[in-house]
């Protein structure tokens, strides 16, 4: 931003977003619990959980992305050094009571570590509702769709057994409408960022998106719209930065300072997969249907993002990434995977090959959510940014 902070029309809404990001974006949870006595707050791990189902049951869905830069006191003793960081910090949050306001945790299928973490949760927190959501890898409605629907019905039934309001089609339609409006707001945020990245830096888009972790969809939508209204009044100008797509951080989240370091190194991150669950569906969930649960199922089957944990059959690996690069008008790709993240790191060579075939430059590094030193990454990103500019300038 070129302005002094006090002159920034988005100052207040960014401050609100920062406040909502306190305590690993769990800050709103306590006040929601006290203002909604008897209602359930249900945590969920990345990537994707159908939050409207929870909201339709008057539950607060709470996205848990690990402990970030929180000091790990006990969590490390549960994992070997070659396991990624997010499960150890999530265990840490659980053991230190930071997740004490959650009545349950849902672990969606993403990788073996998060899968096994669901079992650890059963052992360590036996009184907390724990569910593993087995997202189907078969996308035929009559096969994978049928299984997925039964999974959602099971979770709905179990939550009702724990005191949640039973799910009705009317309440589910309302929740889907709220979710669609939130998704549309995040889409507007994305469009604005791609068109004028100086107006919506990736680091702010990150804060605005993650601020919704423990907010109902309607409140999150309002926050994003407030921000968009404010940044429309921002003065500024385009910089001679390279436009990049960042991929690989769909589960464990990088420190905000790392994103800022990339920006300072001359990279406008115009597209990313941070907190992918909020934007996992490419398009709205059908609202005009007699069976909204079926709409939720079909949305997953038909509109799910081509991410590392989703099977794409015999489709060309990396084709979706190349399309994203083209759509975002990006100059290159930064692979930023969490250390020891199997899905991202096993995917990466296939994605790199696709980028090479398409002539898209890329660079890569690994991070952990508690990475504290960014100088090397900043220099690497700066060199990449320079190289891309030179590449573009070459005859």
């Amino acid at each position: 931003m070129t302005q002094m902070p006090e002159l920034d029309p988005a100052r207040d809404v960014v401050r609100r977003a920062i406040a909502l990001n306190e305590e690993n974006a769990l800050a709103p949870l306590k006040s929601w619990k006290s203002s909604h006595p008897g209602q359930l707050a249900i945590g969920h791990m990345p990537i994707y959980v159908p939050r409207p189902l929870l909201e339709a049951m008057d539950c607060l869905p709470v996205a848990v992305f690990g402990g970030g830069e929180k000091e790990i006191v006990r969590g490390d003793s549960y994992f070997q050094s070659y396991i990624c960081h997010v499960p150890r910090s999530t265990i840490e949050l659980g053991l230190c009571g930071a997740l004490g306001d959650l009545d349950g945790m849902i672990f969606p299928a993403i990788c073996d570590v998060i899968r096994n973490l669901s079992g650890m949760w059963q052992i360590l927190f036996p009184h907390v509702y724990t569910a593993y959501l087995d997202l189907p890898q078969n996308f035929r409605p009559e096969v994978g769709g049928r299984f997925y629907r039964r999974e959602l019905e099971r979770i709905s039934r179990e939550l009702a057994g724990r005191g949640a309001t039973p799910c009705s089609f009317d309440s589910l339609r309302r929740a889907i409408r709220d979710e669609n409006e939130r998704r549309a707001a995040l889409e507007r945020l994305s469009v604005c960022r791609q068109r004028e990245p100086w107006r919506v830096p990736a680091s702010e888009a990150y804060l605005l998106t993650r601020a919704g972790s423990a907010l109902p969809a309607a409140e999150h939508r309002k926050l994003v719209d407030d921000y968009l209204g404010a940044v429309a009044r921002r003065a500024g100008f385009a910089r001679d930065n390279v436009r990049v797509v960042l991929v690989g951080a769909f589960c464990e989240q990088p420190p905000l300072a790392l994103i800022r370091s990339l920006e300072r190194a001359g990279c406008d991150i115009v597209e990313d997969d941070f907190q992918l669950g909020f934007t996992y569906l490419a398009g709205a969930i059908d609202e005009d249907t007699a069976d909204p649960l079926d709409a939720l199922v079909r949305a997953f089957l038909e509109k799910g993002a081509a991410t590392a944990s989703r099977y794409i059959g015999e489709e060309e690996k990396g084709a979706a990434l190349v399309r994203r690069v083209r759509h975002a008008g990006a100059d290159g790709v930064i692979f930023a995977a969490a250390s020891f993240c199997d899905p991202a790191l096993l995917d990466q060579p296939m994605l790199e090959a696709a980028l090479e075939r398409a002539g898209v430059p890329y660079t890569s590094f690994k991070f952990a959510e508690n990475t504290g030193q960014f100088q090397v990454i900043r220099e690497q990103a700066g060199a990449f940014s320079d190289a891309v500019r030179l590449w573009e300038a070459a005859p």
Partner: protein, 438 residues
């Protein structure tokens, strides 16, 4: 070279270890299988690449196809001292040092000509059967292979037993996939329809072999145990986890093996080791986790020289938990195959894995349990430290923890592993002595 040949190679030359009839039979079975693979293209036989957990061997062979199991190729490369080079090859091609060494070993082998253990190239797959059972990496592995081979791939998504039980919804989902995805893909690959009678016959043969295998596992309840259920056990599972389940050869092998083991019981003999018969049994252990393959015999000797016998292990159950009662059944073959896939060890929740280990500790009167945590396999490894605490709490039996890898030789720290194991065994000894004194 077969597994048996590998072990023989490492034994001291002056004391050749006599082979049992079952060992000779297994060696011939495996050699014949690789010969069939080597000539598959000329003879017009179709080849399916698939994985050990959740393998559909009866279905594959009912279509007359031959299976290739990349995990087995990788572990054999590890035992033959080739995996380090293969892994380096894959890492040079951009694969991360953080990820599964089986995958990298297989890719390196592919890039190096895909030479099988008989020294002949393995045939390319006509079909990749992605049995997504108990391991996320399987999916990425076959996505990578699909990019290499550009052949058809069919996914069988096996739901995870998160609550420690198989539900009707899970079973229906797997059966539906078999009907709507897997069998049609096999029909397209082979140009023929499923022979249901042949499938039923193979299911019956599987069940007989499984009965005999359970006799072998349960023989370890005796003192002394006539088998080592981990290091020896990986040889016993070779046929049933790979190409031979559902074959008459497998029935002959397992019935012969069970009879040999029962003979050993009648003679009061302990297990064979790389150096011949083990001396009097001193420690009875349960082991969780796969073995290290690059230093397999060395690893085994660290136990056998201390006269520590592994009476049961979980790695030998990744291809089926027959000792909990499951048998392939001809009555409803697809439902039975679904239950088989769903029941594999790494497809079971962490609490039910703890339950199983607790059962083994008690049923096999173990002095201790040991976790070999391998870097490559998050499916096994994530959560093992909590399993260790839980088991100690529940049983009062002390646990040990060592770390290595499947086939990456860089992660086998000989001195470290041996120190940890010896310290652990000394602790068991000390505990035994103090109990005797009190």
């Amino acid at each position: 070279m077969t597994l048996n040949a590998t072990i023989q190679k490492s034994a001291p030359a002056s004391t050749p270890v006599p082979k049992d009839a079952s060992q000779k039979r297994q060696k011939k079975m495996i050699a014949d299988h690789f010969d069939r693979l080597a000539t598959a293209n000329e003879e017009g036989r179709k080849v399916v690449y698939t994985f050990v957990p959740g393998n559909l061997t009866e279905l594959i062979s009912a279509f007359g196809m031959l299976p290739v199991l990349p995990e087995i190729n990788a572990l054999q490369s590890g035992m033959r001292g080739k995996s380090g080079g293969y892994i380096s090859e894959a890492e040079r091609a951009g694969h991360s040092e953080d990820v599964c060494s089986y995958v990298k070993c297989d890719l390196g082998m592919l890039k190096s000509g895909n030479i099988g253990p008989t020294g002949k190239p393995l045939p390319k797959p006509d079909l990749l059967l992605l049995s997504y059972t108990g391991c996320f990496t399987f999916m990425k592995w076959f996505e990578i292979l699909q990019q290499e081979y550009r052949c058809p791939v069919v996914m069988l998504h096996v739901p995870y037993q998160a609550e420690g039980r198989i539900t009707d919804e899970m079973r229906d989902y797997v059966v539906q996939q078999l009907v709507s995805e897997v069998i049609p893909a096999m029909e397209r690959a082979t140009g023929r329809k499923l022979d249901e009678a042949a499938l039923q016959e193979k299911m019956n043969l599987s069940s007989r072999a499984e009965d005999a295998l359970v006799r072998v596992w349960e023989s370890a309840r005796h003192r002394p145990s006539p088998i080592d259920g981990y290091f020896g056990g990986v040889y016993y599972i070779g046929p049933i986890f790979s190409a031979f389940r559902g074959s008459p050869d497998a029935v002959l092998y397992y019935e012969e093996l069970a009879a040999e083991v029962e003979d050993r019981i009648s003679r009061g003999e302990g297990p064979m080791t790389p150096d011949g018969p083990m001396g009097p049994e001193r420690y009875r252990l349960i082991v969780e986790g796969p073995p290290n393959w690059t230093n397999f015999n060395e690893f085994w000797r660290m136990f056998s020289r201390e006269r520590a016998v592994v009476v049961a292990s979980t790695y030998t159950r990744v291809g089926g938990l027959y000792d909990l009662g499951f048998r392939h059944s001809a009555t409803d073959p697809l439902r039975s195959l679904a239950d088989y896939c769903l029941g594999c060890y790494t497809n079971r929740s962490l609490p039910s894995r703890v339950d199983l280990l607790e059962k083994y500790i008690r049923d096999y009167s173990a002095d201790g349990f040991l976790i070999n945590s391998v870097k490559s396999c998050n499916s096994f490894s994530a959560g093992q430290l909590l399993m260790l605490r839980e088991l100690e709490k529940r049983t009062g039996v002390p646990g040990g923890f060592i770390e290595s890898d499947l086939v990456d030789p860089r992660y086998f720290g000989r001195a470290n592993v041996e120190n940890r194991l010896q310290s652990y065994l000394q602790m068991l000894e000390s505990r035994r002595n103090s109990r005797a004194a009190s």
